[in-house]
């Protein structure tokens, strides 16, 4: 019952294998690092990326990603700059792109206008953690559909089964399951979430499940991949960028995550 036309995300998920994804903050560590980073990620075999839209007051994020937001804003990252960069990317980047961020910058940009731009520049999915499902349904779902943007929602250990079903129904592409109840970059151990992961596994979701938050090492990925269709590495990647963007180091980092 997909409402979307063929979309890079759904195509990617329909291919076999566990997916690996990287989160990066737009405009970090330097304003124009985003495009070359995307190239490296694609070349290293990353299946899809999430690009964080920096926000001054992102409550979902821990210190590492927060800091990247501050720096990106300081670098001059804005919605228009981001869309300009992305517009240039699609010539040579084919992996799916999910934009992720707090509601307010999108709201100020204009939700409709934002979704139109997303489609234009080839964004495949949109995850706004503080957009409530009820608001999505009432005001915004049309904008996603009309612009062929896959709605992505988070689910957490706190999410009730009734709500899991509802979210699964609204989601197109994948469910973003947080590995534990935390902000990004917390120090939780994946093993501690095993029971939750097992529970996720036995749900009969329409959508593939990707697990994110606090996944740092090859071992984490191996462990988590047993239970999900994919994993996302965020803070650990941002941390690898902290000294400045060094292509070899980044390639090494990605290689290090592989089995």
């Amino acid at each position: 019952m997909s409402l979307l036309n063929e979309n890079r995300l759904s195509k990617m998920f329909s291919s076999p294998g566990k997916k690996r994804s990287i989160y990066l903050t737009a405009g970090y560590p330097k304003l124009h690092d985003t495009v070359p980073l995307l190239e490296i990620l694609q070349n290293s075999g990353i299946d899809f990326v999430e690009i964080g839209i920096p926000f001054s007051d992102s409550i979902m994020d821990g210190p590492v990603i927060l800091n990247s937001h501050q720096i990106a804003l300081g670098n001059g990252m804005t919605m228009d700059v981001l869309f300009d960069q992305l517009a240039a990317v699609r010539a040579h980047i084919s992996i799916p792109i999910v934009l992720m961020g707090s509601m307010n910058p999108v709201y100020q940009y204009g939700f409709d206008r934002f979704c139109k731009q997303c489609e234009k520049v080839g964004v495949d999915g949109l995850l706004l953690p503080d957009l409530p499902v009820i608001e999505f349904k009432k005001h915004y779902s049309d904008f996603y559909r009309e612009n062929n943007i896959a709605p992505v929602f988070m689910i957490s250990p706190q999410t009730s089964s009734a709500r899991l079903a509802e979210i699964d129904g609204l989601t197109e592409s994948f469910l973003y399951a947080v590995s534990s109840s935390s902000t990004t970059g917390a120090s939780s151990k994946m093993e501690d979430s095993q029971a939750y992961f097992e529970q996720l596994q036995i749900q009969n979701f329409r959508n593939p499940v990707v697990i994110g938050f606090n996944i740092k090492t090859r071992e984490d990925i191996k462990f988590v991949s047993q239970y999900a269709d994919g994993v996302i590495v965020g803070s650990a990647f941002i941390q690898a960028l902290e000294g400045g963007f060094d292509p070899d180091k980044i390639t090494g980092f990605i290689e290090g995550l592989k089995d």
Partner: protein, 402 residues
Amino acid sequence: MSYQVDENGFYGPYGGSYVPEVLFSNVEELAENYQAILDDPGFQNEFKRLLRLYVGRETPLCPSPYLSELYGACIWLKREDLCHSGSHKINNTLGQVLLAKRLGKKRIVAETGAGSHGVATAMACALLKMPCSVYMGEVDMERQFPNVERMRLLGAEVIPAVSGSKTLKDATNEAFRHWINNPTDTYYVIGSVVGPHPYPDMVTRFQSVISRELLDQVPELTEQSLPDYVVACVGGGSNAAGSFYHFLDHPGVRLIAAEAAGKGLNSGFSAAATFLGKEGILHGTKTKFMQTEEGQVLEAHSISAGLDYPGIGPLHAYLHDTGRAEFVAVTDDEAMAAGIALSENEGIIPAIESAHALAALAQLRLKPTDVVVLCLSGRGDKDLETYINYSTSQKANHESVK
């Protein structure tokens, strides 16, 4: 027109609940239960008993001969400064901590600006035996140090918020993050009528004891059954919401909200959200706040830590748009002068927050028969350093001009 929250948590276009999924069930649990708990006679009795015996309510409605003469009207001070803890904030924290216990929560987290809410939370937690962590901006920890000491003495953990402007907004972010990291056992005691539904309505209801008492006190002490004006300062807006609540449906009562203009509305150092803000989503609610074109939140400035917040609660955004409340901007200097004048002329040292309400009186065109009730939301003990430094620097400026 109704000024009550609707079933989805909105006041007109404002309000709602914009929280990450991790917090959804917490907030939903609260939204589903708060009305029933608040209306439960057992809860009501316990809450009222504590307000009476522990907080010392009711607080008096005290005539102000000095202000009455100065402004040529009958001006009365609602003395929330006499509440245990030193401000109205305890009305809310006792209510919420009692409620948290009903919900079976085991730990409390809170944010604080001036420290008033932090102290009031720490007190409620000490009394009701709940461990308590309070986030406070580093800048605020310095300018309201006595309150930091009080919280620690009360056994609360005070955690500095070091991001952003290191003030209330950032402490609120950190408290949200703490909550996200501890959603099952922790209850977040929000300190004002902000945050996701049902906080704005719940906090308003706890604070509405202020106007509930006024409904009896005004006819008892004045020659009118209703005041002509109710004046209060607005940080997030809890003392204002509590003071306005029972008068919302009496259109004859003019509701005046004093916002912090900081160094001046156009100075770039201000916290007047209705003047400088626009609609957006912050801290889980849709409301008015100061932000860039891009939707990045602006840092607020006010000499008063409790008003140093870029937004206001959704009820106030709605009262502003509908014209039901009138918003007035008060600068740092106007507030400080008003606070010092009340100290010297009436022996009441107001919190600098409350001093903004005092200074707002100068912007009203009062008639001799007008009955004005002003919510003196807190005492200025926490602000002594700021007052003294301000007086000293004023004197120095004065000298150097001569």
